[in-house]
Amino acid sequence: MLPQVAMTDEELVARTVAGDSDSFNQLIKRWERPIYALAYRTIGRDEDARDVCQETFLRAFRALPGFKGQAKFSSWLYRITLNLCRDWIRRQRRTPIVSAPEGVDVVELASEQGPVESIEDLVARKQLSRTVGEAMRFLPEEQRTAIILKEYHGLTFQEIADLQGCPLSTVKTRLYQGLSVLRRRLEAEGRTGVRTTEKAS
């Protein structure tokens, strides 16, 4: 446990603005995992997600004096991250690259490769757990982002609407459409989890 009561984000922001950069490092420590997770789920590549995460904190640090607390610090970080992710996605569309499958460490793979299991089997096994992630990739960016913010970051509809710059009803529609597409896709892939009949309530 911490020797003293943990400071709020806003307190740490104030201390950083006053010149204490260690306070910002505490903010980084607190938020780097969620920010990395947001970037990873949005763009789907580990290395690039780390770059986005690093860039998010750099930009936040530089722009901190202009942060007036009009939104939560976390929402502000999310906004920077999503903007960077959008830039990344646009860049990728312009210059698509062919690379090793993401999430598969080739070094590890080479050492793991036994005489029995073929490389294809190994890759397939590694990718099995990422079926949901793969299905998410096919969603339009707005739907995917709405689902990520709701499912993994617990934002309210209103917070998502503020981040996405759209009406509340649009957020709900995006969530519904995105989840429906995912449902069809996962059912088509034989994921039985989406067919359960237990009541949501």
Partner: protein, 261 residues
């Protein structure tokens, strides 16, 4: 709010799914769900998707970013992390890569000659270079091994100058410790070499994986071909046996029959 919930009100259904509805709406929806199998099934399906989504976790990435603000008034900050390639111009990275390759070649005593006897590649210290003119360059390279240090220092100097131009404050950090400049630059080159090695290792591993996969595919193809070959052989042998059997049967039949009177 409407008095009753209708099947096409998907926004409310999603709000119910995420438990962001007021009490009255919740009761209306639940009332509807008791009567409407379609909506009930849809809600179950969406709930199932949410359970699937919960299984999607990002990899355990090594993060540990830190902001270290410089004392300069410009407040240039750096983020300390095991980065792939920090903010170094592309040409500087390329130059460093060439340097690394050159150093590697001189260390490994790699010789590549192209002469009358074709392309010859030798590595290691075992064989002495032959006396033909083509080998003189490699021999010179061998004797010049200690001379790469000034060249490296010069290149390092130009790299540092360029980095200094791009990020004046970043370069100014080690400036006070000019006596230790050599150590710092050596450290940086070592870092670059390490990063390069890591990348090369990855590439090598990727190649190995590809090679292994190709080999496996080839092996399987060969096995299938061999099986097919065996199959054909067996088929042909079987057909031959059957024909011979027929022939024998025929001869037996013919020989058993009494000659026509």
């Amino acid at each position: 709010m409407t008095e009753t919930f209708t099947c096409d009100d998907k926004e409310q259904l999603v709000a119910y799914l995420y438990d962001e509805v007021d009490g009255i709406t919740r009761r209306r929806i639940e009332e509807h769900l008791r009567l409407c199998d379609a909506c009930s099934a849809e809600l179950d399906g969406l709930g199932g998707v949410r359970r699937e989504l919960a299984t999607w976790t990002p990899p355990e990435a090594a993060l540990g970013f830190r902001i270290t603000a410089a004392e300069e008034p410009a407040a240039v900050e750096t983020v300390a992390r095991p980065s792939r390639w920090p903010h170094i111009p592309a040409w500087a990275q390329a130059a460093a890569a060439v340097l690394v390759v050159a150093a590697g070649l001189s260390i490994a005593n790699l010789q590549i000659r192209y002469g009358a006897d074709g392309l010859v590649v030798t590595t290691g210290w075992m064989g002495t270079p032959s006396a033909d003119p083509g080998a003189s360059a490699t021999a010179a390279a061998k004797t010049e091994t200690p001379d790469w240090r000034p060249a490296l220092a010069a290149l390092e100097q130009s790299l540092r100058q360029e980095i200094h131009d791009v990020h004046p404050a970043a370069a100014s950090t080690p400036a006070p410790a000019s006596a230790r400049g050599g150590d710092v630059s050596l450290q940086r080159v070592t870092d670059l070499i390490e990063q390069s090695e890591r990348r090369q290792k990855q590439e090598l591993a990727l190649r190995l994986v590809q090679f292994g996969r190709d080999l496996e595919v080839q092996r399987r193809t060969d096995l299938v071909r061999i099986n097919q070959g065996f199959g054909q052989f067996e088929g042909r042998a079987g057909a031959e046996i059957a024909r011979q059997r027929q022939m024998i049967d025929y001869i037996m039949r013919v020989s058993a029959q009494p000659p026509p009177q």
